[in-house]
């Protein structure tokens, strides 16, 4: 079926080959003692940069986090602090 299609650029490489860590000035650091596993940080992350560990605590995927700090702002128990990158 491809034969009858006009030649056009087709992008097939998944975008996560692009690491966006260097965009960041501040890095989110989670205090697991305060975390209630409510998942609000995951829910509001525009970069899919929050995953979960084996017991349900959020883990920041630092290769992709751009440091927008929505997670820290929305975290109700204030378990996330933004720490300046070196």
């Amino acid at each position: 079926m491809e034969e009858d299609l006009p030649e056009a650029p087709i992008a097939t490489t998944p975008s996560d080959v692009n690491h966006t860590a260097s965009w960041r000035t501040f890095r989110p650091v989670i205090d697991l003692k305060l975390c209630t596993k409510c998942n609000v940080c995951w829910k509001f992350c525009p970069d899919d940069a929050i995953a979960f560990d084996g017991v349900g605590f959020p883990v920041i995927r630092l290769d992709y986090c751009k440091g927008c700090a929505i997670c820290a702002e929305e975290c109700k128990p204030k378990a996330i602090t933004m720490v300046k990158e070196d």
Binding site: A11, D16, N18, K43, F44, F52, G56, I70, A72, E73
Partner: protein
């Protein structure tokens, strides 16, 4: 595993090129969570062509077709016809366009798609200006807002004209489903998308997508600003199902519009009289919406 209030599946990948704190990115993320992987997306010129596809990469795990700026509605109709021809009955076709590409440049094609009763979804993510090209005013920019083409200086006080009411234009076409959604309320957002997915015919979403650089606020405030837009009645959440209006979030008493305006630099020049004028307009629109709901 902890309990999630929206689907876990991610069809939007990391490594895209959206600005930090981008609201439009969350719109796509929640939309695809609601629609699932049997989806084809078509996107005109807008932020999202840049966000998704720095060549040769793509941020979506579903097919995405770039179309011309004014052509999103026609692109949805064409993809639907092609899918039908190939017997792909279970595929949802969705157009994903900005406010400029919808309320201004793509309005004719959108109207055509609605009138043809194309079985597809059109979502307008509304960041209230041409943000991709650098914050030029659009028909969806609200009155009073600063943009680069409606400056605040000795000759100008931001945009003079009111925001185009896209939902009223859509409602005039009487589609089976139309709704407003907001990134601050993901559960409501995904619920409406799942509901729309099960309906056939032309469906429309108006999604609020706060923009940190364009609205002049700090990136961590995206959800707070979006939440205030709804809780001050600036951006009410409602559905129109076969012409019947239903407001999906109602506060006993709405917050003053000032609380929303003061979160953003684009409104920082407004004086008390100008804020009072905007409050009166918001109150009037809310009253009209309640009356429309009352018709049911």
């Amino acid at each position: 595993m902890a309990r999630l209030t929206i689907p876990a599946q991610e069809l939007m990948r990391s490594g895209h090129s959206a600005c930090p704190g981008c609201g439009a990115t969350l719109v796509m993320r929640y939309l695809l969570k609601g629609l699932g992987e049997r989806t084809i997306v078509t996107v005109p010129a807008c932020c999202w062509t840049v966000i998704a596809t720095p060549f040769p990469t793509t941020a979506l795990d579903v097919p995405m077709l770039d179309c011309a700026f004014e052509a999103t509605g026609a692109s949805i109709s064409g993809l639907r016809a092609a899918a039908d021809q190939l017997g792909l009955k279970d595929v949802t076709i969705v157009g994903f366009a900005g406010d400029g590409g919808t309320a201004d440049i793509g309005l004719q094609a959108l109207s055509g798609m609605l009138e043809r009763r194309t079985d597809g979804i059109y979502l307008m993510y509304d960041n209230e200006a041409y943000m991709n090209t650098g914050v030029q005013r659009s028909g969806a920019t609200p009155e009073g807002a600063w943009t680069t083409t409606t400056p605040v200086d000795e000759f100008s006080r931001g945009k003079l004209e009111p925001k185009k009411d896209i939902m009223a234009i859509i409602a005039a076409h009487n589609p089976p489903y139309a709704a407003t959604v907001n990134v601050a309320f993901p559960e409501d957002f995904v619920k409406k998308v799942e509901k729309a997915k099960a309906i056939h015919g032309p469906r429309f979403f108006h999604a609020l997508a706060p923009c940190p650089p364009g609205w002049r606020y700090s990136s961590e405030k995206t959800i707070e600003v979006a939440r205030l837009a709804t809780d001050t009645n600036v951006f009410p959440l409602y559905e129109i199902v076969d012409g019947v209006y239903h407001i999906t979030r109602k506060l006993g008493v709405a917050k003053p519009v000032r609380e929303y305006l003061q979160t953003q630099g684009r409104f920082s020049h407004l004086d008390d009289a100008e804020v009072a004028k905007i409050q009166a307009q918001v109150d009037a629109r809310w009253k009209r919406l309640l009356a429309l709901e009352g018709l049911a």
